[in-house]
């Protein structure tokens, strides 16, 4: 009798557990799709994470660290190669991914706001660091530029999103202060 009750409770718990996970995935994908569509449709209105702003700020940082370059629209031209800032370079999708993880996760509005507010500057400066690193790499080791750009840093971004999300769950959601 006891086993039957325990088994029943476990089954109910599992059902509830899976429902929570399914809800998270559902809201994550909905949020991701909506923000993604909006970010493409209204790209020029997004502060900081648009192509023009990213190109100009990158150019400013490169000059600050002593790298000589010229800027033409979204293109930054170095002595031996050039880079073009496209939508994927702005970090907007990483912002959308983190924001969607946070919004879909069951927690209070205040904790969600804290999470997104912390994520924005972290992603922005991480992305700028990534672009400066790639520029320096392209100038000095052009043969490995494509590999590092296409693969290594994509993985780093996936990790950053998940690491920040775990950090937020541990430090903000679990703390229960906000």
């Amino acid at each position: 009798m006891k086993d039957v009750v325990t088994g029943s409770n476990q089954k109910m718990f599992k059902l509830k557990f899976d429902l929570e996970a399914a809800k998270f995935i559902f809201f994550f994908i909905i949020s991701l799709s909506v923000f993604y569509f909006l970010s493409i449709r209204f790209e020029e209105f997004i502060p900081f994470f648009n192509m023009q702003s990213t190109a100009q700020v990158l150019f400013f940082f490169l000059k600050s660290v002593g790298i000589n370059a010229t800027i033409e629209s979204y293109q930054i031209i170095f002595s031996n190669f050039s880079i073009e800032i496209v939508r994927q370079c702005t970090g907007i999708f990483e912002v959308i991914a983190i924001a969607s993880c946070i919004l879909a996760f069951p927690s209070s509005i205040k904790k969600k706001i804290i999470g997104i507010s912390l994520a924005l500057p972290i992603i922005y400066f991480f992305n700028m660091g990534r672009l400066i690193f790639l520029s320096a790499l392209g100038m000095n080791y052009p043969s490995v530029f494509e590999t590092v750009h296409d693969y290594l840093l994509q993985i780093t971004f996936v990790f950053l999103v998940i690491f920040f999300w775990i950090f937020w769950v541990n430090k903000v959601v679990k703390s229960g202060k906000a």
């Binding site: 557990f17 899976d18 929570e20 996970a21 998270f24 995935i25 994550f28 994908i29 991701l32 993604y36 493409i40 939508r87 994927q88 999708f93 990483e94 991914a97 969607s100 993880c101 996760f105 069951p106 927690s107 209070s108 590999t147 296409d150 693969y151 290594l152 994509q154 993985i155 971004f157 996936v158 990790f159 999103v161 998940i162 690491f163 775990i166 950090f167 769950v169 541990n170 959601v173 679990k174 229960g176």
Partner: protein, 144 residues
């Protein structure tokens, strides 16, 4: 996850990603070759013209595999099995989206398709899969 668990997770992920990237660096020509062969069969059947501008996902299987290796769950044997399954799954995803790219050539879908492959499939899909496979426990931490 405690503080040390998170650091341990980060270190394990970095090592796993570095090892898998190195392995895949040597396997990738064969992966591309297998994709090209499969696409070649598709061209033979459909008589469509191949395009030089086809996009692949940027190795989401490596980041997802590294996440699974780094997560303190499952045995080594199960992890290896999952990695093989993930590579097979993303091979099918890459093939499917290559076919959609070929069929969508010259239409407005082509533009969105590139974005979907580079952003959705490369970054969002590993997060969803990892959550489903290994980290549903995160929900336990949430407040209701």
């Amino acid at each position: 996850m405690g503080k040390h668990d998170v650091i341990y997770f980060a270190v394990k992920f970095s090592i796993a990603a570095a090892v898998l990237l190195t392995i895949f660096y040597f396997i990738f020509p064969y992966y591309r070759g297998a994709l090209r062969y499969s696409i070649g069969i598709f061209f033979d059947i459909t008589k469509l013209q191949p395009s030089n501008n086809l996009f692949l996902t940027s190795m989401p299987y490596v980041s997802l595999s590294a996440l699974i290796v780094a997560t303190p769950k499952r045995t080594a044997k199960e992890k290896i099995m999952f990695i093989i399954l993930i590579f097979a799954l993303f091979y099918i995803i890459d093939i499917s989206f290559l076919i959609i790219q070929i069929l969508a050539q010259g239409t407005f879908i082509q533009y969105y398709h590139i974005l979907v492959v580079q952003d959705f499939l490369t970054i969002a899909l590993p997060i969803v899969f990892w959550f489903l496979l290994d980290y549903k426990d995160l929900i336990v931490y949430s407040e209701k």
